[in-house]
């Protein structure tokens, strides 16, 4: 086990290095002279030169990359042009908000998705099953930014039940905080709920066919115990994978959802960085999210071992 963890961590290093390199190279894609593009159309030559020096574009590419890599161990991701402050600080400040949103989305996903999947499997090929399928298909097909707008119109404007946007910190007003997360949480989670419900249903059907389930039923265990104890444990393995993927998708989705709902999290910070051509901030944000996802995948893989004693990590 320990050997496996070390091996996986070592394998993650080249991926992380590449991720860092890709993040830092996004500016290379800007056609023409990035400095004058970033400074804007009406910028004077002096301003363009100032931006050029600020971004390090006056130095060669290799030297810039070296400087970027050298800063990383110190947690130095450069300075944001728009905010005129350290990128790392700006991102760190926003992380709790995005984590709250993604966490709430994940909670909804797990609570609703697994339930729906189990019910659909137990009632396979009935109208309940088909209803779950319809929700799942809607989830993968409805664009979440559009769903957000529709929810805002319906619940925020017409019915006026929930705030139409904005974010209230937990410390200020816990109830307001929860209310401000409901609509964005649902918009973010619908896709994941569908995916999780479908995978849970498929796995559950597979598991229910196994001999040990028949045995459990035959010896007269109550149905709820068979499902809850014998079946669910075996369903959790693929489900954990999907939950891991889900969390990544939730972080990714937050870019759009936070923009639509004006939630001051990391997603909106990065979206604004993109619109404001704040490349140091874009690069830092890309690196932080991608590195988080790489580590998250590692954690998910390790969770297998905890949940399923059959999974071993010996070479061989």
């Amino acid at each position: 086990m320990a050997e496996y963890v070390v091996r996986r961590l070592l394998a993650a290093i080249p991926v992380l290095l590449l991720v860092t390199l890709i993040s830092a190279s996004i500016m290379q894609l800007v056609p023409g002279d990035p400095a004058s593009m970033i400074a804007g159309q009406n910028a004077s030559q002096i301003e363009i030169e100032r931006v050029r020096v600020e971004l390090g574009l006056d130095r060669p590419y290799g030297e810039r990359m070296l400087a970027w890599f050298a800063g990383l161990p110190r947690g130095d991701l450069g300075r944001s042009i728009l905010l005129q402050r350290s990128v790392a600080d700006a991102i760190l400040e926003r992380v709790p908000v995005t984590l709250a949103l993604a966490g709430f989305g994940l909670l909804l996903t797990i609570a609703i998705g697994i339930q729906c999947g189990i019910i659909a499997a137990l009632r396979a090929n009935t109208w309940v099953d088909q209803a779950v399928l319809v929700v799942a298909l809607a989830g993968v097909s409805i664009p979440n930014f559009w769903l957000s707008l529709m929810l805002i119109v319906l619940f925020g404007v017409m019915l006026d039940w929930l705030p139409a946007g904005g974010y209230i910190p937990f410390a200020d007003d816990p109830l307001g905080w929860a209310r401000s997360l409901i609509l964005p949480g649902i918009s973010l989670a619908l896709l994941q709920i569908g995916l999780l419900a479908r995978i849970t249903r498929a796995t559950m059907l597979e598991v229910l066919r196994q001999d040990y389930i028949r045995t459990a039923r035959a010896k007269g265990l109550p149905g709820l115990l068979v499902i809850g104890k014998h079946a669910l444990k075996n369903v959790m393995i693929p489900v954990i994978t999907v939950i891991g993927i889900s969390f990544g998708l939730l972080l990714s989705g937050s870019v759009v959802i936070e923009t639509v709902y004006s939630i001051p999290g990391m997603g909106r910070l990065l979206a604004n960085a993109v619109f404001g051509r704040d490349y140091p901030l874009i690069q830092g944000g890309l690196l932080v999210t991608a590195a988080t996802l790489v580590l998250l995948n590692l954690v998910v893989d390790l969770l297998y071992a905890v949940l399923d004693p059959r999974v071993t990590f010996d070479r061989g």
Partner: protein, 270 residues
């Protein structure tokens, strides 16, 4: 049930395809023609889906939007298909290339898809071609991974070993054994990528890094409608439905194709 869903997918995608191909005939006004006198019309005979804030006919913009959405989606499918197959084949067939190529793909896949697409599209500048490039960069690794997985299996089969023993060239083996076997999962994957591409392109447009307004893309129409949600919600409603139905059609098509072409991946039903 399975067949009905697949049939629904075919019909939905067929309708969108017809709208896209015959946009010139089906549109009743040029999609960018502004008629300020007719702003915010609700649906009526002259404007089947009403007009927007510039008095442009929403139906006409919708059908031209279908054309652009499908064109971008198809562009992404072609680019991803070619690049993904090339990389997947190289990594799966030639062991020495496997590690470097797949680590690069892992790195690209580590980024959240939407975020990377936005960053690339914004850096390249807003246009339809750049949207295709950004989306292809995001979805190629996923395709490469699937092609590689099939190639790894096919490469070890006895018939490939036999062909090698008979002195067949790598090129011949790839063309006659490896490629045909990778095709089924590839087609299934590309159908889903088509759906993702339509959805993500809408996000790019909506955020302002897709084809710039007044180009009639569905994402642009929603972005413009966003400011009039209170007074004229239909501006944003129709393009959203169009995106959802297109993505739904492609998803159903992909599910159905997977059942037919790739029985190994079939989801158990009942």
């Amino acid at each position: 049930m399975r067949h009905r869903l697949f049939a629904t997918g075919v019909v939905l995608f067929g309708i969108v395809l017809v709208l896209a191909v015959f946009a010139d005939v089906l549109a009743i006004a040029p999609p960018e023609k502004m008629q300020v006198r007719f702003r915010f019309r609700t649906p009526e005979w002259a404007f089947p889906l009403g007009t927007d804030n510039f008095g442009r006919d929403i139906w006409s913009r919708l059908v031209y939007g279908a054309r652009l959405s499908l064109a971008i989606g198809f562009g992404v499918v072609v680019a991803t298909g070619i690049a993904g197959t090339a990389i997947g084949l190289a990594a799966g067939y030639f062991r020495r290339l496997d590690n470097p190529l797949m680590r690069a793909m892992d790195a690209l896949m580590a980024f959240p898809a939407v975020l990377l697409a936005i960053a690339i599209a914004a850096a390249l500048g807003p246009s339809a071609i750049n949207a295709v490039i950004a989306l292809a960069a995001v979805y190629t690794p996923r395709t490469a991974r699937i092609v590689r997985a099939t190639v790894l299996v096919v490469r070890e089969t006895e018939y490939v070993q036999a062909a090698l023993a008979c002195g067949a060239r790598h090129y011949w083996i790839i063309r006659h054994h490896v490629l045909p076997n990778s095709l089924a999962p590839l087609i299934v994957q590309l159908t889903f990528i088509f759906a993702y591409a339509v959805l993500t392109e809408a996000i790019l447009s909506f955020l302002g890094v897709g084809p710039p307004p007044p180009t009639p893309t569905w994402g642009n129409m929603i972005a413009e409608g966003k400011d009039y949600l209170r007074e004229a919600p239909l501006l944003a409603v129709f393009p959203g439905i169009a995106i959802a139905l297109t993505a739904l059609g492609l998803n159903l098509l992909g599910d159905g194709l997977r059942d037919v072409l790739d029985p190994r991946l079939r989801v158990q039903h009942g």
